[in-house]
């Protein structure tokens, strides 16, 4: 345990001024599709040829590395889908390919998402040995009925075991919960959250259930068969979440992410601080520099088509667009205002070529939605965070 905690302190810190460079790897398969999920995930009933996929990942890694020469990787994130369906050998092959093609900073954060089922927990040691040093567990609820309602394949007992095993295996651990679930009250959520904080290490992701277009939940909701908390109740739930986590010493550092100060997800900070990142695998997104500036890069989402493209042409890249000043400024603002540290307005001005409209800002300040942390740093207040999409639309 001592050795591991020593390692925590060796994690490379990033700062607002130097957001770091991340590599995101997308494993697109799941054992079952959750009814609320609109991510790029796919269920296959025949076995996945993991070695073949690993070779393809390695090839695309080489391409992305070629596009980001000179950058040092400060974080790696294996997301999905369900990356914990990968054999440890597959994870090892991917991490080796990253190390072979880029310079990886000593102490770089290597996060992997995992489901807390017993089968997957058996592989935790293997992942750790492959180089994963931070696990993000998709616990989602500490209530069996709600777990079934969310279409999860695990139960609370399995989740507790997985948390315990992960804590003893990985230097860092985070887990996800979904709240504002059908029928959830503020009191029951507060109790569940308190229990989660007891189980938590130093990081929690707490997402409000969102009814996304095209999901089974969307159809049910539209048909009136799924009742989710309305705007008022979900605002109350959000506020309760803020106050419980703050009291427990895991304040929000982003809309939905909470950490003991210093234990924030470096990788996600890179996104929100609008640093550069490479995306590898089906449907992965990146922001890389092109000759004329920042590019939005994305790959083919369908796993088999992506695989074929990589085997034929080294990469499954389908989108590689130079961003306009306005687009870049919009992204900088909408990502950055999600953070409690806010956005550097000097940088925004540099990107957009203009200032924030002073009357719009003054109105938002008067309404208690935004504030200046320093002459050049603007952030959303706790009240502003709750209506951030509207605030950003005013400011952008």
């Amino acid at each position: 345990m001592n050795a591991l905690s020593a390692e925590v302190h060796r994690f490379l810190p990033t700062t607002p001024a130097d957001p770091g460079f991340g590599v995101y790897v997308h494993w697109p398969f799941c054992a079952a599709k959750c009814p609320y999920c609109d991510f790029n995930s796919h269920v296959r009933h025949q076995a996945i040829d993991q070695e073949r996929f690993a070779r393809a990942f390695a090839r695309e890694i080489a391409v992305m590395a070629g596009r980001s020469r000179g950058l040092t990787v400060t974080s790696i994130f294996l997301g999905g889908g369900t990356p914990s369906l990968m054999e440890p050998a597959t994870v090892g092959a991917i991490l080796d390919a990253i190390a072979a093609n880029w310079t990886v900073a000593p102490g770089a954060e290597v996060t992997m998402e995992a489901n807390p089922s017993s089968v997957e927990a058996e592989r935790f040691l293997g992942y750790r040995a492959a180089g994963v040093n931070r696990l993000s567990l998709g616990v989602q609820a500490l209530n069996d009925e709600d777990l079934r309602g969310l279409g999860r394949l695990h139960d609370v007992a399995q989740a507790l075991k997985a948390i315990e095993l992960a804590r003893s295996t990985f230097p860092r651990l985070s887990f996800d919960l979904i709240y504002a679930r059908p029928g959830q009250s503020v009191a029951s959520w507060e109790a569940e959250l308190a229990r989660a904080i007891d189980l938590a290490a130093d990081h929690l992701s707490l997402y409000q259930l969102t009814i996304e277009h095209g999901t089974p939940f969307y159809a049910l909701h539209k048909a009136g068969k799924l009742k989710v908390p309305d705007g008022e109740l979900s605002a109350d739930l959000y506020e309760a979440t803020q106050s419980v986590t703050r009291t427990a010493g895991l304040p929000a550092y982003e809309i939905s992410n909470h950490a003991v100060p210093g234990a924030e997800s470096r990788h996600n900070l890179t996104y929100w601080r609008y640093g550069l990142y490479a995306g590898v695998g089906p449907g992965a997104h990146g922001r890389l520099m092109g000759r004329l500036g920042r590019h939005a890069v994305a790959t083919e989402p369908n796993p088999e088509r992506w695989l074929q493209m990589v085997e034929d042409w080294e990469t499954g890249t389908t989108i590689d667009d130079a961003l306009s000043h306005q687009e870049e400024a919009d992204e900088l603002l909408l990502m950055g205002l999600r953070l409690t540290e806010g956005v550097d307005l000097k940088r925004w001005r540099q990107v957009s070529g203009r200032d924030i409209d002073p009357t719009v800002e003054a109105d938002l300040v008067a309404q208690g939605m935004v504030e200046r942390l320093s002459p050049d740093r603007i952030r959303a207040t706790p009240a502003g965070m709750l209506v951030l999409d509207a605030v950003v639309a005013d400011l952008a």
């Binding site: 997104h285 992204e331 709750l386």
Partner: protein, 603 residues
Amino acid sequence: MPAETPLDHIRNFSIVAHIDHGKSTLADRLIQATGGLDLREMKEQVLDSMDIERERGITIKAQTVRLHYTAKDGGTYVLNLIDTPGHVDFAYEVSRSLSACEGALLVVDAAQGVEAQTLANVYLALDNDLEIVPVLNKIDLPAAEPDKVKEQIEEVIGLDASNAVMISAKAGIGIEDVLEAIVHRLPAPKTGDRTAPLKALLVDSWYDAYLGVVVLVRILDGELRKNQVVRMMGTGARYGVDRVGVFTPKMVQVDALGPGEIGFITASIKELADTRVGDTITEDRRQTAEMLPGFKPAQPVVFCGLFPVDAADFEDLRAAMGKLRLNDASFSFEMETSAALGFGFRCGFLGLLHLEIIQERLSREFDLDLIATAPSVVYRIHLTDGTILELHNPADMPDPARIEMIEEPWITATIMTPDEYLGNILQLCQERRGIQTQLTYVGARALVSYELPLNEVVFDFYDRLKSISKGYASFDYHIADHREGDLVKMQILVNAEPVDALSMLVHRSQAERRGRVMCEKLKELIPQHLFKIPIQAAIGGRVIARETISALRKDVTAKCYGGDATRKRKLLEKQKEGKKRMRQFGKVEIPQEAFIAALKMES
């Protein structure tokens, strides 16, 4: 094609019918039966050629067709069918068309019977001294009750229906009987001297992109030939005739048009304004002694503002309106500015359907996105200094201290309805300040007449009537007179800012109800903001209704998927695009759709 048709072998007629009672289908059958078009050329309904006309099953512009019919008596007759608009808004055009005819077919649905609109048009035909032949259509329907409907025609209209022609236009039953009835029961044109100086009535005119102005004429005396130099007696304009022809319904040129005939001419006329409908056309060198009485111009009775959703479309809107006006002299417009809606036009219409049709044509044919303000009527404002103002726009209302009194237009409305809906309809009319003048029954159908302020009718009356009668009641009206009314200007304030586009003149007794409805509606339509927004209806400084839109409490994306900033940015761009379509009132953004929906009214 015979160059000269003897007068007694000509019949000029039109068809009077309610919407849906089969006028266009019958016209198609007549054209088909007389070989005007072969089947391949027949589009479903030939006469209603504008898209809107075909969709709504109504006729807006008069059209004519010349049919050649060999009757059972062996004679070949020229039958000129002049199609007329069915709706009362176009009564002016109806009476113009009827004035070119000697007879009319009254087509009544054998299942549905006489409707309010039928009545209005029959009366117009009777006013023009037309001979009328009743025709019962759809006799093949199981629900047809021809005997009851005949009885109704006799009772309600006062026409002898014993010889009514029984047909099904759709099934092609009785079409020949109709043709025979036209020949034997409708009169031939009365007078006409082919050798006299030309005397022709300018029935209608429209702009054709290829031919220039096309003029529809009815000849009374003399002959109209190609290359003839004619004079419009009213405007004094002179033209050399390029083409003389008839519609079969295709345009077919003929050598000459003689007395009793109906046809068209073109004469390189550039300006529609030079062809005043109702004018008398004569020869330039040999003029007729006497001008025809002509028509009095149609007066617009309903006004509303039309504004482009995108301010950049203003010039396009002006051009589009100019083009529509080319073919519709009864539509008028002048520039208007609104704090809420920017630059636009105050437009005058013959009625609500006319308004709707113009709006629809602007958006459909010219691809313009429009906002229409609440329709209003023309008020006569008597000022304390003795002058009288005609108020077309509530925003121009003078200071109440200067107003002696306000007069508003009243209508006489006729409503026919199955009696089960009568109670609701009477209640609606009472609510709208109506005065009942007549109530009679024909079988299970009631005919009720009301005097109503037009102001109450332009507001949503028609929609309400349709909904409370499940679509079965029919409604028609004509302007009766002006009467003094206790009218006040009601303003709508959003976050304490008056929104001029939503202000309206209302009767004091109706103000609270309308104000409440408007506030409730706006509460639904204006999106939540970051602060709470009061919505008030006020007369002068006094608030008569109020609603509050609560502040937005939650609007934030919980999760950003794996660095996909693009998806979030696209949403933001959509949001910003949406804001562009909003109008700013102080700090409040009101979507265009809110104006349109709020003005459409009512629950």
